[in-house]
């Protein structure tokens, strides 16, 4: 029983990270109707920036906040410079741009910080929390930070005017324009926020998976799985999906003998395929109906 609880809690902790990635993916999907493959590499790059800031002697939490700010601005710039000219273009143009971004961030990180694996300090320390072994302090801290961020995002989107404007721009861009909302800038804001959310996910998961240019590859895959489970049209669903994927991954790795540690990643893909077969719009998404 303790093993079970331990695995569930650990699953929820990493699930929080998947939830962040899923949310970042969904936010951009809502704005431009495409999946951003480069989301993980953007988060990885942000994490390297945080690492660099810490190396320069900046205290952890200052570096944390600074990295979020830098990532936000970078996200906005990516939208303005790369995505805005592609607006209304064919889906393949977007796919190519995302692959380009992915490879640019990946190799630039390798070029600047080289490909060796680095350890990334946890601000929550290691050892035991409250003298029990059910959940480590980093897992607990990860969960807490994720939850606080999700609550903030929820309040932002539900109760601020700019949050409503962003929702309107995503839901019905043309009608939003006719209400005078600057849809292009709302998209840019969405990119900035997605990049910022990704940077938090990267900084929190780095102490677990260690810092290197390919660290976010599998994390993003789990994030995609979470987004697909919850539904690409439902931010709340994507968050729940992320948590669910984290728990499923951990339990399957522990209790299904053939899965073990090596096969864990294929679970994400199995989940994606299974959900797409049974309920293509996800558990909380709504089917997209297009008039032809």
């Amino acid at each position: 029983m303790e093993l079970f609880l331990h695995q569930v809690l650990a699953g929820l902790a990493t699930g929080g990270i998947y939830a962040c990635m899923a949310l970042a993916v969904v936010m951009i999907y809502q704005a431009i109707d495409h999946l951003n493959f480069a989301q993980g590499e953007m988060a990885m790059f942000s994490t390297f920036i945080a690492w660099q800031l810490i190396q320069w002697g900046i205290p952890y939490w200052a570096a944390f906040v600074l990295t979020i700010g830098i990532s936000f601005i970078a996200g906005v710039l990516i939208d303005r410079i790369v995505l805005k000219p592609l607006h209304g273009q064919h889906i393949l143009s977007h796919v190519v741009a995302f692959i380009a971004l992915l490879s640019i961030f990946n190799s630039t990180a390798g070029f600047i910080w080289d490909w060796t694996i680095k350890s990334f300090a946890s601000p929550f320390g290691s050892g035991q929390l409250f003298g029990q072994s059910l959940i480590g302090p980093h897992d607990a801290g990860m969960m807490a930070v994720t939850l606080v961020m999700l609550v903030f995002l929820y309040l932002f989107f539900r109760h601020t005017r700019i949050g409503l404007a962003m929702r309107a721009a995503a839901a019905n861009p043309e009608s939003a324009q006719l209400a005078g909302i600057r849809v292009g800038w709302m998209n840019a804001l969405g990119w900035g926020m997605a990049a910022a959310i990704g940077s938090v996910a990267g900084m929190l998961i780095a102490p677990v998976v260690f810092l290197e240019p390919n660290m976010m590859l599998s994390i993003l895959l789990y994030g995609f799985a979470g987004a697909v489970v919850g539904g690409l049209t439902s931010p709340g669903g994507a968050v729940l999906g992320g948590f669910a994927v984290g728990v499923i991954e951990n339990l399957a790795g522990t209790y299904i003998p053939v899965v073990g540690r090596e096969m864990k990643l294929s679970i994400a893909l199995c989940i994606i395929v299974a959900v797409l077969c049974v309920k293509p719009s996800g558990l909380f998404g709504r089917p997209v109906v297009t008039r032809v």
Binding site: R161, A165, A171, A176, I181
Partner: protein, 237 residues
């Protein structure tokens, strides 16, 4: 009466295809102008051109200032509220959120809140459904919501694209009554696109008739209504 909106030699294009051919069009300050024509005549395109949603050539002036070629958002911010074909409902947002979206360009919480109440005054049914998802409203209620959302901008000019489309006659009557009141008491000028010509000519004081993107006739609404030849040839009643 002074001209609030003035279009000269207005042409519009979808890709290489020209859809409007040198239209000239005025809306008087405080007036209701209607734009009539058959399916595919270019009525919707005319409104979209005025809102900067089409590639156009020619001159468009609002309150004397040229607006052709400006971004839709900037044109809206000058006080032109466009109620689009299909109503443009934000279907997952609540009724009240839809109204708030309409006031997104404005400042001043108190004024916005009192305008929400003002819209509810005109459309009591919307008040009953204020917390409901807008997508669950009936067609008539969604059209009222679209007009309400446009009112939230405090516009000087409303562009209305077939507000009667798909609605029951009783609802249409109620809606057009409210449009008349808005025009009289709120001093909102209107450019009304309609297929239902008799309805539109009753409401409007001036009318334009277009056919395949070209102006074929204009004059006081009264005049078009009373001319049997025009009615039979173009308006089908």
């Amino acid at each position: 009466m002074s001209k609030l909106l003035e279009a000269r030699e207005l042409c519009a294009f979808y890709g290489p295809t020209q859809v409007l051919f040198a239209l000239g069009l005025n809306v008087d300050e405080g007036g209701i102008t209607t734009l009539l024509g058959a399916n595919g005549a270019g009525k919707t395109t005319t409104l979209r051109s005025l809102s900067g949603m089409c590639r156009t050539s020619g001159e468009i002036r609002f309150d004397g200032k040229p607006i052709a070629g400006r971004a839709t958002e900037d044109i809206v911010r000058l006080g032109i509220a466009h109620v689009p074909q299909g109503r443009g409902t934000f279907s997952r947002q609540t009724v009240e959120e839809n109204l708030q979206i309409g006031a997104m360009t404005r400042r001043g919480r108190a004024a916005i809140a009192s305008d929400v109440e003002r819209v509810y005054g005109y459309f009591p049914r919307l008040k009953e459904r204020r917390t409901q998802q807008a997508g669950t409203l009936s067609g008539g209620e969604q059209q009222m919501l679209a007009v309400g959302r446009a009112m939230m901008l405090r516009p000087r000019l409303m562009l209305l694209d077939e507000p009667s489309f798909g609605l029951a006659p009783l609802i249409v009557e109620e809606l057009f009554g409210i449009l008349r009141t808005l025009n009289k008491s709120e001093k909102v000028s209107m450019l009304l696109v309609e297929q239902n010509a008799s309805l539109a000519l009753d409401l409007a004081d001036h009318a334009y008739l277009i056919e395949t993107g070209r102006l074929v006739m204009e004059g006081p609404a009264q005049h078009l209504r009373d001319d049997e030849n025009i009615r039979k040839a173009y308006l089908g009643y």
